[in-house]
């Protein structure tokens, strides 16, 4: 199946609800005032990512990178414009969404993989790969709360990297884990990338990994696309802008 992402004049506004209680809501409703103001976080953004591409989103905090990932993942919807995503999306955003701390690592593999949209058979098929990649064999039956942050990240990454989903969203995940595991992850991501039938959207502040890993980068500033080019050019502009 063809995997692709199309953004066409995508605008996204958020409601700024100051406090989510009736106390604020009722008086403002009675006085006829709007009780929530909106903030536009993406202004009419357009871009297309096609199958086989590995694209980095670069920008300061609040530039709109996470919002774009959420729109691609389908958990939020544009205020106007069109977001068309073809193919299943596996988010590696802040890994470990849905891990449960009281459950063992083993139980969490099934839980997390199910959340990422995998079926029982698919999980069983790659279970041993997941375990081997995580290097956590001896801790598998220990509750997750005994794991260090790095170990949790390793487990989460190992699960996410084995999903058959053709679109991968990678958000700052490489910031955790030790240097060896980071290298291993990048190697694995490169393998996936080299199969050529996936779409990888990568968010990172780390110039080196973006330049090494992506062939295209999009620079975002205050919810707008400033430049869409090769990573080295993007970082040149990004670094000169932030000085």
């Amino acid at each position: 199946m063809q995997a692709s992402i199309i953004f066409k004049n995508v605008k996204k506004e958020f409601l700024l609800q100051e406090d989510r209680t009736f106390k604020e809501f009722l008086p403002s409703l009675l006085s006829g005032k709007g009780w929530a103001t909106t903030k536009e976080v993406l202004h009419e953004i357009s871009f297309t990512i096609s199958q086989g591409e590995t694209v980095a989103l670069v920008g300061k905090n609040g530039a709109g990178k996470s919002t774009i990932l959420k729109l691609i993942a389908g958990v939020t919807y544009p205020s106007s414009g069109l977001v068309a995503v073809q193919g299943q999306v596996a988010p590696l955003i802040e890994l470990g969404a849905g891990f449960h701390h009281e459950l063992s690592g083993y139980e969490n593999i099934f839980l997390n993989a199910a959340i990422l949209g995998m079926h029982k058979k698919e999980i069983e098929l790659c279970l041993s790969d997941i375990i081997a990649f995580s290097e956590l064999e001896e801790y598998l039956h220990v509750p997750l709360k005994k794991y260090s942050t790095g170990m949790q990240m390793r487990l989460a990454f190992s699960i996410a990297i084995h999903t058959p989903a053709p679109i991968l969203l990678v958000d700052e995940v490489l910031a955790v884990g030790d240097a060896d595991f980071q290298k291993k992850c990048l190697r694995r991501l490169t393998e996936i990338k080299n199969t050529g039938d996936k779409v990888i959207v990568f968010v990172s502040h780390d110039e080196k990994s973006v330049v090494n890993f992506c062939e295209r980068a999009i620079l975002l500033e205050n919810g707008e696309v400033v430049k869409d080019s090769i990573p080295s050019k993007i970082f040149e502009l990004y670094l000169s802008n932030s000085q």
Binding site: F14, L15, Q17, R20, T21, F22, F25, K70, A73, G74, V75, T76, Y77, V89, P91, I93, E94, A97, G98, H100, E102, L103, E107, F110, L111, A114, I115, L116, G117, M118, H119, K120, P143
Partner: protein
Amino acid sequence: MFSLLTPFRSHKYLLLQLTQKEIKARYKQSFVGYAWILVNPLAQLAIYTFVFSLVFRFPTNNIPYAIFLFSALLPWTFFQTTILSATNSLVSHADLLKKVAFPREVIPYSVALGKLVDFIFATVVFFVFLLFYKVTLHASALLFIPIFLIQIVLTTGVSLFLAAANLLYRDIQYLTGLIMLAWFYASPIVYPLSLVPVKYVWAYKLNPMVGLTEAYRSVLFGYPLETSILLWSTIVSVLIFCFGFWFFKKVERVFADVV
């Protein structure tokens, strides 16, 4: 209409995993573990039996009070615990709502399924009590199951509405505790319907849990079944479910933005 059932097919495994998590995680770090599933209803039973059969002495038509109570308390416990947990369920799964797309109703459904398992375990205790008090169930007792299905529809409808509403306004979770307390005493669980003043009975019966609770006792102990109020409860349950589902789906799109 068919979209109601899609999560059960397309996200069956996720639903199963979340349900397992509900059940397993709850008692993981506790000494007696799963025994809590039984301890809770037993303790409630002991307390209410003391208060309402020794202190107040409600007439229960020759059925031992504990049995009279248990037959209504078990379905009620399913109703109450599901609604209370489901109300918080979306908020406590905020990290999922913000990251992964799947039909959101899977979350409250998994809560209900988890509580259903509790209910089934507690039913075993009910049978032990029946043996102990030497009460035999009427042949119509199997009709309990279809009536309980109606209650599941009602429970899910209320849960969907409150779960979504709580995501918008956190007041709901505090309000729900109060509503459930009032609802409990507004239903004939610890006392028989016959004690409700005749003047108010018509208004009292508007509560869908009244028809359901009465129907449970009718089919279990072979009293005449009042079909009109059961019909009313069924209609209200279905309407509440439709409204709850409609509301849930309507606000589902903004879940990730407001959580």
